[in-house]
């Protein structure tokens, strides 16, 4: 089909998410929609998919205007969407998820589920495009890459002509990326158009036929890979020249601050996700843990910060075994910037001032005996807001009213305002605009230069390469290798993230260039 979005405008209270956006997707084309976080890409696609109604503008399919009141209309028109956060019911099987909404039924009342018929069709689609799945598996047991395949099968099951993929590679290793691109090319060959939303420049150049760049809700330009480069795309995305590398001097590592020995941790479902892990981080260096989400990073961070009791193994901070409660670990000089800033990092309903003392409120000067010292809290808050450039009308504003970047700055300000020996930051710049990302990276490097040990967990390889002095790759609960970012390549890291052992590592080992080899693989 030929899809055209003409003049789409969508407003929310306080912000214009899309402003007069024009987008055309030709039949059988892979069209990349590029923009940084907050540019309005997902909103635009939600409008297309009937989840939102546009305030102005229209949607045309093959030249005819259409209106989608809900996703059902869009699906019927042949549009399928694979959302960034999967829309799969964890306790259902693959078959049940795929057929939900378009169930095969039998029986006199047309109500009884016909699972075998659906299974058959799923296997047919699976074979046609090399999307390997087990129709009877429960979604919650499946790894992320397989779940994505289920999402794609869902759309093909409904005979979509146009597929929208929203940040599909956020959860994949570079090798899985390649597999996905193969699937995309296969779909394109059978006539399906694809809209591919991303903020990753290299992917766009590799797979797209045409590229549309969005910035602050508006289309900045439409081009093709032949006519552009990563740098110019980045400039279009952000509106100014962007340095993709963090300015930092070489690290001068000091004493070992964090020492993790043979750590074993179970997750909420009882599976062992940290499986005998060893790790050391020294003061004055940044160690970044690279890995696909779901390989134990979350549980590792929780164990280090006292939120989860390990089954066995030890964690030492500056040589001392710590009692694993969050408070004692915080008091041992550990700062924690959690992955989910609204859920875990702050209390959105509290004021900026209250959030800034969230883990120090119980000690002088913020508290004397049983009572809080309001004046002291306010003074400290005013100072921190100034030091960390938090944009808020007052320290009594609730954090919920701040932008994502400023919320993260509040959390960072809180954590950085104490003397710390170890900083643990998980996905520190997820969902932030470029300005905030640069700022946070700078402050992290500053902390390192002050002598703190820094442990970053990130799924963004760009961030890992930019910040790390050493890169530790985590796979299935263990550190499979530790590499030097100046020497290692994305491909090597990618292979390690996926569990294989790239050739270059072996050579580098022989040349004595690697620091810490832990396990063997095949």
């Amino acid at each position: 089909m030929r899809l055209e979005l003409r003049g789409i405008t969508k407003r929310f209270p306080g912000v214009i998410a899309n402003r007069a956006v024009n987008l055309t997707v030709e039949p059988g084309e892979i069209h990349a929609l590029l923009g940084e976080n907050g540019a309005g890409k997902t909103t635009l696609m939600n409008v297309l998919f009937g989840l939102y109604q546009p305030d102005e503008g229209e949607i045309l399919i093959d030249g005819k205007p259409v209106t989608f009141h809900d996703p059902g209309d869009a699906i019927e028109a042949g549009i399928g969407m694979v959302h960034q956060h999967f829309m799969l019911v964890p306790v259902f099987t693959v078959t049940e998820n795929v057929m939900l909404g378009v169930e095969s039924v039998r029986g006199p009342l047309g109500q009884q589920l016909d699972r075998p018929a659906a299974r058959k069709r799923i296997l047919e689609i699976s074979a046609a495009h090399n999307l390997r799945v087990d129709p009877d598996a429960l979604i919650e047991d499946l790894p992320v890459g397989v779940r994505q395949r289920v999402e794609i099968i869902k759309t093909l099951y409904r005979q979509s002509d146009l597929l929208v993929l929203d940040e599909p590679t956020a959860v994949l290793t570079p090798q899985e990326d390649a597999e996905l691109f193969e699937i995309m090319r296969s779909l394109k060959a059978s006539g399906t158009s694809i809209v591919f939303i991303t903020h990753k420049l290299n992917e766009v150049l590799e797979i797209a036929d045409r590229i549309t760049v969005l910035r602050a809700g508006q289309v900045v330009g439409t081009t093709t890979p032949a006519e552009t480069t990563e740098e110019s795309l980045a400039a279009m995305m952000v509106g100014r020249h962007v340095s993709l590398v963090v300015d930092k001097e070489t690290a001068k590592p000091d004493e070992v601050v964090l020492e993790v020995d043979d750590l074993v941790v179970k997750d909420d479902r009882g599976h062992i996700t940290v499986d005998g892990l060893d790790l050391q981080v020294r003061g004055g260096e940044i160690v970044a843990i690279a890995g696909v989400q779901g390989n134990g990073q979350t549980e590792l961070v929780e164990a280090i910060t006292g939120l989860r009791q390990p089954l066995s193994g030890t964690i030492r901070i500056s040589g001392e075994l710590v009692r694993s409660t969050p408070r004692s670990i915080l008091e041992a000089g550990v700062a924690h910037v959690p992955e989910d800033r609204l859920e875990d990092g702050c209390v959105p309903a509290f004021t900026v001032a209250e959030n800034l003392v969230l883990n120090t409120y119980y000690r002088p000067p913020f508290s004397r005996g049983l009572q809080l010292d309001r004046a002291a809290i306010e003074t400290a808050a005013d100072q921190l807001v100034k030091d960390f450039d938090v944009r808020t009308p007052s320290v009594f504003n609730t954090v919920a009213n701040l932008s994502g970047g400023n919320q993260q700055k509040v959390i960072v300000a809180r954590e950085f305002s104490r003397p710390i020996r170890l900083l643990v930051a998980a996905q520190p710049t997820r969902g932030l605009d470029v300005g905030s990302i640069e700022y946070i990276h700078r402050r992290i490097v500053e902390k390192r230069d002050e002598g703190a040990a820094v442990l970053i967990v990130s799924t963004e390889l760009d961030e890992v390469f930019a910040l790390a002095d050493r890169i530790a790759v985590m796979y299935q609960g263990k550190i499979v290798d530790i590499l030097d970012p100046d020497v290692a390549t994305t491909e090597q890291i990618g292979l390690l993230m996926g569990g294989s052992r790239p050739v270059g590592i072996v050579e580098a080992e022989a040349a004595g260039e690697l620091t810490h080899v832990v396990t063997t693989g095949g």
Binding site: N46, F49, L51, Y52, D70, P71, G72, I75, M81, H83, F86, M87, L88, V89, P90, V91, F92, E96, N97, L100, G101, V102, E103, V105, Q111, Q112, L113, K154, D262, V264, K266, I272, D275, G276, Q309, L311, S312, G313, Y475, Q476, K478, V480, G499, S500, V518, T519, T520, G521, G522
Partner: protein, 426 residues
Amino acid sequence: MTAVAASAPAVIVDRAAIRRQRILGVVYLIMAAVIAYFLTTEVTAEQTSTFVLKPAGSTGGLDVPSLVVPSMLAVYLAAGLCAALGAMQLIRGFGSRWAVVLGIVVVAFVFAFLTWAAAGRSMSLIGILQLTVQKGLPITFGALSGVLCERAGVVNIAIEGMLLSGAFTGAVVGSATGNNVVGVVAAALVGGALAGVLAVLAIRYKMNQIVAGTVINILASGLTSFVAARVLQSHRELNEPDKFTSMPIPLLSDIPIIGPMFFSGNIFMYILFVLIGLIHYGLFYTRWGLRVRAVGEHPRAADTVGINVLFTRYRNVVLGGMVAGIGGAYFTLGSTGSFVHDMTGGRGYIGLAAMIFGGWTPIGAFLASLIFGFADALQARLSILNVAVPSEFLLMVPYIVTIIVVAGLVGRVRMPAADGTPYEKG
């Protein structure tokens, strides 16, 4: 291809599980001690306990002999069993079968208790079992109502109020029209209407669902008491419905023990069985059920495939209300007859506990309700038997059992993931 650990696996110690195991073992041992010490008081060695297994005055059917056990011996055996299991639990634990063992210990304790209460006498065990099912009926209705609502993602605390309104409506309409069936239908409609109010408050106005449910309960209690005082005091004839008579099913009601329990009741029992079957089939085998469960687990996913989340929730809540209304009518039209202020006595809340205990499934809810019904029945019969325990404590039993169940089961049963969260489109 996959990495293999090079070093030997460390000894893995799950401290929390071991502590749970030890606590259970100690509890079993304590129960053994309680049995051996308290449940042998005033029991002489030659006494026997007789458990009558055929309902008094029933004609036809097989002659089921009464169960006679030597009291002292039986009690000590039960104590011994608990002690042995307790020791094993402490030392080794039972792994994945711990729940079965817990069940065995509870059954042994109850058996010892009954034996003690019946020492030197005969007790109609079949009577207690029949009463169990009867007491469990309204609880099951409540639990089923909860299943319908919560599977779609709406917490329904208002079951108590819906039961109460159903009881009231059933009595008044049944008396006014002289037709009990009309009374039941009216009760269902009233229950559905109250549920509609809950649905609007919770879904449209996104009110906290527990608060909304509590409000409805208070409203129902106040309204029924108000009208009862204003109208029914002076118009007694509006509160004297004929009760449904019992309708034993031929042949089935003659099966020993099971027959008198499940196939000799009044129409409410059979309505319940039909409902259990329908809801079970509906939830797990039909398109309707798949969509309901999707809405309860991941409403956004359901929305993106074109399912109308809000309508599904409205519909299920109203259906749940109707079921609760019918269950409420049981209190008057199926049991005592006249409406009395606040006559449901917390059965709606116990129904919720039964729903949780039963894993949000209809059959599980029924079995769980039977357990609560048993506690209720025990309390009713034992106070007649003049057991040496004050009747007030016996009256507490159903409530304390509920607490224990709820406290012990959290985290072990999987609730619908989106239960209680209002759905925001977009």
